[in-house]
């Protein structure tokens, strides 16, 4: 049995195409770019070796640290909110709405298919202060408050980002997690119910552990997309006011393509990749350990 599961020919046939695509079109360009971290210049001016200059510059670059902090904050808060909202929705689909959930699932997925430019316009209008107060400010004024320039201030703009992110992606995470939840055999849940488990206890002790692999994947997915947030920042605030809502991706993009410093831009990209990778490894390791303990089928 073990020899069939380890059939070399099958492994090669199944794995090779993906590995080939991935290596040629992603891995090679990545290393090409990373090679540039030791150079200064751009495609037009040519490249001159710079040793570790880009790395020492990185350490002392306050813009880098500020944008890294913003990226961290963004990824942490958005990941928690997105996955929580998505998980609650998925639980709603599976346990409350059951088979009638198709319509709800479909409608909640709507925002995912909207282009960023449309979503950004919508939220600009919702949180607008002029030419006239948008619905949110109108509501504030109705209760006697003062209109707020939501996108003109870094703190309030951050929350607009969060609301927009959750709105746009919770339907997506719900569907992702739903696919994991429906695969939990009903008999297991039923038998737990009979044993007296109910509501929250059921969720905590049965459902979360059983859907853990997919839940952890969703977290990886969320970290990945929020840490690399780019389009929506450009569309909503363009990183402003000042640099206050500039994530590392935008800073990297500007350094490379606006300031034409490919070497330093690649160094920023490397930093971004390393940080995101470290976070992922932590999540990944914990998920692997769990499965290994439970499944016992490793090696």
């Amino acid at each position: 049995m073990q020899s069939v599961l380890g059939d070399k020919r099958a492994i090669v046939i199944l794995l090779a195409p993906a590995l080939l695509f991935y290596t040629l079109i992603k891995v090679v360009p990545i290393f090409w770019s990373l090679g540039l971290t030791f150079f200064d210049g751009n495609v037009l001016r040519g490249f001159t070796p710079a040793g570790f200059a880009n790395f020492t510059r990185l350490v002392g670059d306050s813009n880098f640290w500020e944008s890294l902090t913003f990226s961290f904050k963004y990824a942490a808060v958005a990941t928690v909110l997105q996955v929580t909202a998505g998980y609650l929705l998925a639980l709603l689909y599976v346990f409350a709405l059951k088979r009638s959930s198709v319509i709800v699932r479909t409608i909640c997925f709507f925002p995912v298919i909207l282009p960023t430019v449309a979503v950004a316009q919508l939220f600009k209008r919702l949180f607008a202060i002029n030419p006239q107060p948008g619905p949110v400010n109108a509501l504030i004024e109705f209760f006697g408050g003062q209109s707020i320039d939501w996108l003109g201030d870094a703190t309030t703009a951050f929350w607009v980002f969060m609301i927009m992110d959750v709105w746009k992606s919770m339907g997506f995470f719900a569907v992702l997690l739903f696919a994991g939840l429906v695969d939990i055999p009903e008999e297991i849940i039923e038998s737990a119910r009979i044993d007296g488990a109910n509501g929250l206890r059921l969720v905590r002790h049965m459902i979360i552990p059983l859907s853990l692999p997919v839940l952890l994947s969703a977290i990886v997915f969320a970290i990945n997309s929020t840490f690399k947030v780019f389009d929506s920042v450009i569309a909503l605030t363009n990183g402003g006011p000042g640099n206050d809502t500039t994530p590392l991706t935008l800073y990297m993009f500007r350094t490379t393509f606006t300031y034409n410093e490919y070497g330093y831009g690649s160094t920023l990209a490397l930093a971004l990749t390393v940080v995101a990778f470290l976070i992922t490894i932590v999540v990944f390791r914990s998920s692997r350990r769990d499965v290994t303990a439970a499944g016992g089928a490793k090696k």
Binding site: L20, F21, L24, I25, V28, P29, W32, N42, V43, L44, R45, K124, A128, I129, N130, P131, S147, D149, W150, L151, G152, D153, T237, N238, G239, G240, P241, G242, N243, R254, T256, F257, T258, Y259, N260
Partner: protein, 446 residues
């Protein structure tokens, strides 16, 4: 699906995925050496272009449309010898793509070039990719088809004639004549009058000014023009040369003056997050007294859908004079749009024929068909609306060009000045800090 796969087969005929992927390794390992095929229309046997390829920006269809019209009419001969072919990229991609194309020796004959890099000293300019248009136009004998002020503007901004003046814009204040009349305000010619006019409107409950924090230029132009009025048109050049700094008292005054307009609430609430469409719609709805903008706004003035009040309600006046300043009110803030450059490598006689035809016909054709002003002389009489003629007259009387705030500096400066402009008006950043941010950016740009 069957339809798409049929289409695919046609496009994909020569290549097989695996082979392409393998070949990718080969090229990926070594640096590019310029041996690839050239799809952009260059390299005929005698060198130079085989088609009049033009890479424009998607956001500006004007030039492409007008050239297409010329290729079917006045320039049909030039087009027969060297057919026009237009491709486009997004404005935001220019900075990234055009240098990349240049490094691959794949530039088209005519292309939009990144502003900062096209200046003397910039990478595009120094690479020798850009044709010196002054020499070429002189050789072709078409320099007298270019408005002298437009040529001067190009040379002032870029240090050399690198851009064809397909556009020529002057900037100043658009104002609402009805609101001015109702409040007994005369068109201001000095900064003090201007502030008084704003105060009068404010007292009357009218928002005096509007600008867009998301388009920093609508605010930073106040700074550059104020400086040109108070310190002369060389104000910014002096900073570049290291003879002045934004923290100098006379420069800081300009920043403080602009900041104080914001502090007084003249721009209304939410200026930082306001976009340019909101600005123009506020203005044309008659809710705002004045708006700094360019002569390209004319097309909106004469567009009934955008301007329900009609063209008679609006006027244009130059940026007011600063008392005791060394600049003059007849120095106009001007620009010639995005840089439209020619490839030095691909230039040949056929391209020259196109240039001659463009120089002779573009000005009148653009005015007649799109009602817009270019940097070319109008060789045939075109009937123009009143406000247009008025602005053209002002353009012709311009004595000097005021360059925009970001123009003489690098890309970091542009970002710093633009993204902090809104906060400068709403109190998010002090004038001193703004000056410091600018100085930092200048240092970082090197």
């Amino acid at each position: 699906m069957p339809r798409s796969s049929r289409l695919m087969r046609r496009r994909f005929a020569p290549a097989v995925a695996g082979a392409a992927a393998l070949a990718l390794i080969a090229t990926a390992c070594g640096p590019a050496d310029g041996g690839g095929s050239d799809p952009t229309g260059g390299d005929s046997a005698d060198g130079g272009a085989t088609e009049f390829s033009f890479l424009t920006i998607t956001e500006n269809p004007q030039i492409g449309e007008e050239l297409t019209r010329l290729s079917e009419g006045a320039c049909a001969d030039a087009n027969a010898a060297l057919p026009l072919s237009i491709e486009s990229i997004a404005q935001a991609e220019v900075n990234n793509r055009v240098p990349l194309l240049a490094s691959q020796e794949a530039l088209p004959v005519m292309f939009i070039s990144p502003t900062t890099e096209s200046k003397v000293g910039g990478d595009m300019y120094e690479s020798g990719a850009l044709l010196d248009l002054e020499t070429t136009f002189d050789e072709l004998g078409i320099m007298d088809n270019v408005l002298p002020a437009a040529a001067e503007t190009v040379k002032t901004i870029y240090g050399s004639m690198v851009s064809i003046p397909f556009q020529y814009n002057v900037e100043g204040f658009w104002y609402n004549k009805d609101l001015f009349e109702a409040n007994g305000i005369e068109v201001p010619t000095t900064w003090e009058d201007f502030k008084a006019a704003a105060a009068t409107l404010d007292t009357a409950g009218v928002q005096p000014l509007t600008a867009a924090g998301t388009q920093g230029w609508t605010i930073t132009r106040y700074l550059s023009t104020y400086l040109a009025r108070s310190q002369g048109v060389d104000a910014l050049q002096n900073v570049v040369d290291g003879n002045a700094s934004f923290s100098d008292p006379e420069y800081l005054t300009a920043i403080e003056e602009v900041s104080s307009l914001g502090e007084a609430g003249y721009f209304g609430e939410g200026v930082t997050s306001r976009d340019i469409d909101t600005v123009t719609s506020q203005f044309f709805a008659g809710n705002v007294g004045m708006m700094y903008n360019g002569s390209w706004t004319l097309s909106s003035v004469y567009d009934e859908a955008q301007n329900p009040l009609g063209p008679d309600s609006f006027g244009f006046f130059p940026f007011p004079e600063v008392e005791g300043g060394s600049g003059s009110i007849s120095d106009y803030p001007a620009n010639t749009g995005t840089v439209t450059a020619l490839s030095a490598d691909l230039y040949n006689d056929k391209v020259g024929d196109w240039l001659v035809c463009i120089a002779e016909n573009y000005g009148s054709s653009l005015m007649e068909n799109q009602g817009a002003i270019s940097g070319f002389v109008q060789n045939t009489e075109v009937e123009t609306p009143e406000l247009v003629s008025e602005i053209v007259t002002q353009m012709e009387s311009a004595t000097g060009a005021v360059i925009w705030f970001e123009a003489p500096f690098g890309a970091r400066f542009g970002d710093a000045a633009g993204t902090n402009a809104g906060p400068l008006l709403d109190g998010g950043i002090t004038p001193e800090d703004y000056a410091a941010v600018l100085e930092e950016a200048i240092a970082a740009d090197g």
